[in-house]
């Protein structure tokens, strides 16, 4: 049920990071200050979501490798629990992987997920690539997080080793950081 469910702690190892930094390939991601590339992706077989529709409120993009894999399930299950906190901060959460929308539908239903999962399915991984969050070596998304501010600019990004659930503390800190500088309350 959790990344550290393995008592040997191997799933927490940071062997993926290679470069010796605590995270994954954070340096490859689009960096804070960059305008987030707009996209439209299927959230269900007959509905789409467009990033720019969320202008006026912060958006959390959670790229993850795959539906159903145990760590992903935990990360999405954790975010599902924290959703009220994200919403208190005015933010919407969007999960993104290369899985198809029927797969997402089944996964959402099984886990009772209360936020959209977007399919970066055709052309495969195109949106992931735009954000620097595609793993060419295995054809899936990185476990990458972005917090995008109300104007559509990336405020924070983080890439976790693919086997490690990054938790939500970084997201919450980034969202709270948005409220600190001048600019007042975001819409919503």
């Amino acid at each position: 049920m959790s990344v550290n469910s393995d008592p040997n702690g191997t799933s927490r190892s940071h062997s993926e990071s290679g470069g010796g930094q605590a995270g994954g390939h954070t340096e490859r991601l689009l960096q804070p200050g960059t305008v987030a590339p707009d996209f439209t992706l299927h959230s269900t077989p007959d509905q789409t979501v467009t990033l720019s529709e969320f202008r006026g409120q912060p958006v959390i993009l959670a790229f993850y490798p795959a539906d159903w894999s145990p760590v992903c399930g935990d990360q999405m299950a954790l975010y599902n629990e924290i959703l009220p906190e994200f919403r208190k901060l005015g933010a919407e959460l969007l999960g993104i992987s290369v899985d198809g929308s029927w797969c997402h539908a089944a996964f959402r239903e099984a886990r009772n997920l209360q936020f959209p999962l977007l399919s970066d399915f055709e052309p495969k991984g195109e949106v992931c690539r735009k954000f620097g969050a595609y793993r060419d070596e295995d054809g899936i998304a990185e476990r990458a997080l972005f917090v995008i501010d109300a104007k559509g600019t990336i405020a924070w990004s983080y890439c976790s080793p693919v086997g490690v659930n990054p938790g939500a503390d970084g997201i919450l800190e980034a969202l709270e950081g948005l409220h600190e500088p001048a600019g007042g309350e975001q819409g919503q």
Partner: protein, 181 residues
């Protein structure tokens, strides 16, 4: 991400062991989580081995969607805590998993209350009124803030412990933390 415990051990915590122990082990756990159940006897053993060297703190991190009975169980433990029986209830909730899949159902929680010599009707109304829910949720959010991403997650003297929690390596990590004090 965060590797530090952001909410220090305080008076709202359930604490076992002396306040001035050189090592504090904080666990974020979930009564319905099989891994926490497996960790339970390990914590018992390292506690016995370390004696007064160890202060153990248990905090709730119930994943409601995955474990629908974890939150009521945590509320039951908090309620028992009012009657001075937090640890007795805590132990029972993990141990009685052996009884089968319904071990955290409401009627079972009430049964445990009676077994501990507490007035089960008090628990019934506390669960109905969700009297202890806010405290359980506060523990969960505190855990999220400290980077807890699943259960069990351990912190040794305020630093997240990502190593193996089998008895021998956990004991070694705790002893090292005690020695470096």
């Amino acid at each position: 991400m965060s590797t530090r415990l952001r909410s220090p051990v305080g008076e709202n915590d359930y604490v076992r062991g002396p306040d001035d122990a050189p090592v504090t082990l904080v666990e974020y756990g979930d009564y319905e989580c099989p891994h926490c159940a497996r960790a339970f006897p390990i914590i018992e053993e390292v506690s016995a081995r370390l004696g007064d060297q160890l202060r153990f703190v248990y905090r709730d991190f119930p994943l409601r969607e995955a474990h629908p009975r974890a939150e009521p169980a945590a509320e039951a433990a908090a309620w028992a805590g009012e009657g001075g029986k937090f640890w007795e209830m805590h132990d029972t909730l993990f141990e009685r998993r052996a009884d089968g899949p319904a071990w955290l159902d409401d009627d079972r929680l009430l049964e445990y209350a009676s077994e501990l010599g507490l007035d089960a009707s008090g628990l019934e109304s506390a669960l109905e009124d969700e009297r202890y829910l806010a405290g359980v949720r506060a523990s969960f959010i505190g855990g999220v803030r400290s980077g807890v991403n699943g259960t069990p997650t351990f912190f040794i003297n305020g630093i997240r412990y990502d190593g193996s929690w089998e008895t021998a390596p956990l004991l070694r990590a705790l002893e090292e933390a005690a020695a470096s004090r």
